[in-house]
């Protein structure tokens, strides 16, 4: 008996390794090596077109001692954005998924419709938003004015630019919604029916069956929301160029600018590694906390 167990363990170890082998190779080639290279470069003043020279911790100390005018600002801006956008987009897309998971006619069409905004190319949808939200000529303000509300500055004022970007982001949460939808298919019908038979209302169904059963999916979306939120880039790159007055200077935009406009790849690598550590800490905390609320049927 004892012998059998260890044999199985051995087999499991081999099987597990071989199932994961492609991604282990992939990880080493496309993640580990480039990551090590960039870590090494973060201690140099490499500018891509020339040889690098070792500068020790200079790149890092420049960030933290305030010599770099953008570092703290962009960190603040990004954390503000993450704090606003993760909860809103999770709640919003979960509600939409609930709505679309109901027994309605033309489900397929509606699912496609709600997904559409996320597939419109970013350059095209950004042009449309910029035009709609233009404070002087845009549609949004003419509507606000016509119903007697005061117009907003939207993307052009320091106070409103991040909330506006969070709002725009809601339009593109289609992929989060799709993942929720897929997750909802795994919620056993019998459980929902059992609640219905017991006379439980919508709330009971939602908070005692659907949400608990979907915690792995919710957890996934929260983690990915954090990771991608910290790396948000396209919006400020295309729509605001980080402005006004750096109030939408997202961290990765700042990093990209450092790497490819100011041609300081070494310093860009150090900026990237600071972000890496921040995201890692956040993610580790989320994983530690998951035991408290995430329920895996297969454990």
């Amino acid at each position: 008996m004892k012998n059998k167990m260890t044999l199985r363990k051995k087999r499991e170890n081999i099987a597990g390794f071989f199932f994961s082998l492609p991604c282990i190779i992939g990880f080493i080639m496309f993640a580990a090596i480039p990551m090590m290279v960039s870590l090494g470069l973060s201690f140099t003043d490499y500018n891509v077109i020339n040889h690098s020279t070792f500068v020790g911790l200079d790149n890092y100390s420049k960030l933290f001692n305030g010599d770099d005018p953008y570092f703290y600002k962009s960190l603040k801006v990004t954390i503000y954005y993450v704090a606003l956008s993760v909860p809103t987009s999770i709640i919003f897309s979960f509600s939409i998924a609930m709505l679309l998971n109901r027994d309605i006619k033309g489900k397929g069409i509606f699912r496609t419709l709600f997904y559409l905004p996320s597939i419109v190319p970013t350059v095209a949808i950004s042009a449309i938003w910029l035009w709609v939200l233009n404070p002087d000529f845009g549609l949004a303000n003419s509507i606000l004015k016509s119903i007697g509300l005061s117009p907003s500055r939207w993307l052009t004022s320091e106070a409103t630019v991040i909330p506006t970007l969070v709002f725009i982001n809601l339009w593109t949460t289609g992929s989060t919604m799709v993942i929720f939808l897929a997750g909802m298919q795994d919620v056993p019908r019998q459980l929902i029916e059992a609640v219905e038979i017991d006379g439980g209302g919508f709330r009971t169904k939602l908070f005692h069956v659907i949400v608990p059963m979907m915690t792995p999916t919710i957890f996934y979306n929260v983690v990915m929301g954090f990771i991608s939120g910290f790396q948000v880039f396209a919006q400020s790159y295309i729509m605001t160029s980080g402005g006004p007055n750096n109030s939408s200077l997202f961290y990765v935009f700042y990093l990209y600018r450092e790497a490819f406009q100011f041609m300081r790849m070494g310093s860009a690598c150090s900026i990237a590694w600071v972000l890496f550590i921040i995201i890692m800490i956040f993610t580790a905390i989320l994983f530690k906390l998951q035991n408290k609320w995430v329920y895996y049927g297969g454990e």
Partner: protein
């Protein structure tokens, strides 16, 4: 629950869904309308809903400026090779990480999660140089190989989450019947997680289709450019060919809509499967 209340509920649901659907459709329609206007008319105030003169010539002009048919061909080749690779290898890995208890699994999983946390901007050039050193110049192979080696942490993590919700008893029973892991993966796990697999397929399609940075860096010949890269050629600080850009955007979007309409059927299919579970 009262019948009247139920009907009222239904009506509210339909109203929400219809209005939401329209709100979601507007950007797309606006893009289409803009693709038929001249570049000045697009941004007129008060806005024009319909073009004063329908300019299908914007589309022909896009085709004259750039070989979009070739771009389509290139994108399709890329997408097919990448989507298959991603779906197959990411699900294999996810199975290894979710359903098999083995010594290295937590470390491997942590590494895979970690690989998502470093911004692309700093790994782009090192990876590129690595492929060049191996000898791939102006080739799509560097774009495809990663898909066949796990396909990206995003998908592995997603599938792992789905695989972990399936009760253990299933594979335990199969194991006692003498099934190996490959059989359990193929016969039990995959059929049960079709919605998730469809999601991965659609996402990897979409990401490949819209990615322009990879093709930009790896490809040198314009004859190898993809649709997304073709669209990117219309952007720029002093560019004002908004009408052409909108037309190109339409060209980019149409295949995606078709694929999504097909893909979402599989999200629905999951519904019938779930009866088996739990």
């Amino acid at each position: 629950m009262g019948k009247a209340k139920k009907i009222l509920n239904k009506i509210i649901v339909y109203i929400l869904v219809i209005f939401g659907g329209i709100a979601c459709l507007i950007p797309l329609l606006w893009m289409f309308r803009s693709s038929l206007m001249n570049s000045v008319e697009i941004f007129m105030t008060p806005p024009k809903v319909f073009p004063s003169k329908v300019l299908w010539s914007n589309f022909t002009e896009v085709f004259e400026l750039y070989p979009f048919l070739t771009y389509y061909k290139n994108s399709i080749i890329l997408v097919v090779l990448i989507v298959f690779g991603t779906v197959i290898t990411s699900s294999l890995c996810a199975y290894g990480l979710a359903r098999i208890k083995w010594v290295g699994r937590n470390i491997v999983f942590a590494c895979i999660m970690g690989s998502m946390m470093l911004p692309f901007a700093v790994t782009l050039i090192p990876t590129f140089i690595m492929f060049r050193k191996i000898g791939f110049t102006d080739s799509i192979i560097p774009l495809i190989v990663p898909a066949w080696l796990g396909g990206g942490a995003f998908y592995i993590f997603l599938l792992r989450q789905f695989f972990m919700t399936i009760p253990r008893d299933y594979d335990e029973a199969a194991y006692i019947d003498g099934a190996g892991h490959l059989k359990i993966y193929m016969k039990i796990i995959l059929p049960l997680t079709k919605p998730a697999m469809a999601v991965v397929g659609v996402f990897s399609f979409l990401n490949t289709w819209n990615d322009f940075l990879g093709p930009l860096v790896y490809l040198n010949s314009e004859s190898k450019y993809t649709v997304a890269l073709g669209l990117q050629l219309f952007t720029g600080v002093y560019r004002s060919e908004w009408n052409l850009m909108m037309a190109a955007s339409c060209l980019v979007v149409i295949p995606v809509i078709i694929v999504f309409i097909i893909g979402q059927r599989y999200f629905l299919e999951g519904l019938t499967m779930s009866g088996v579970k739990g």
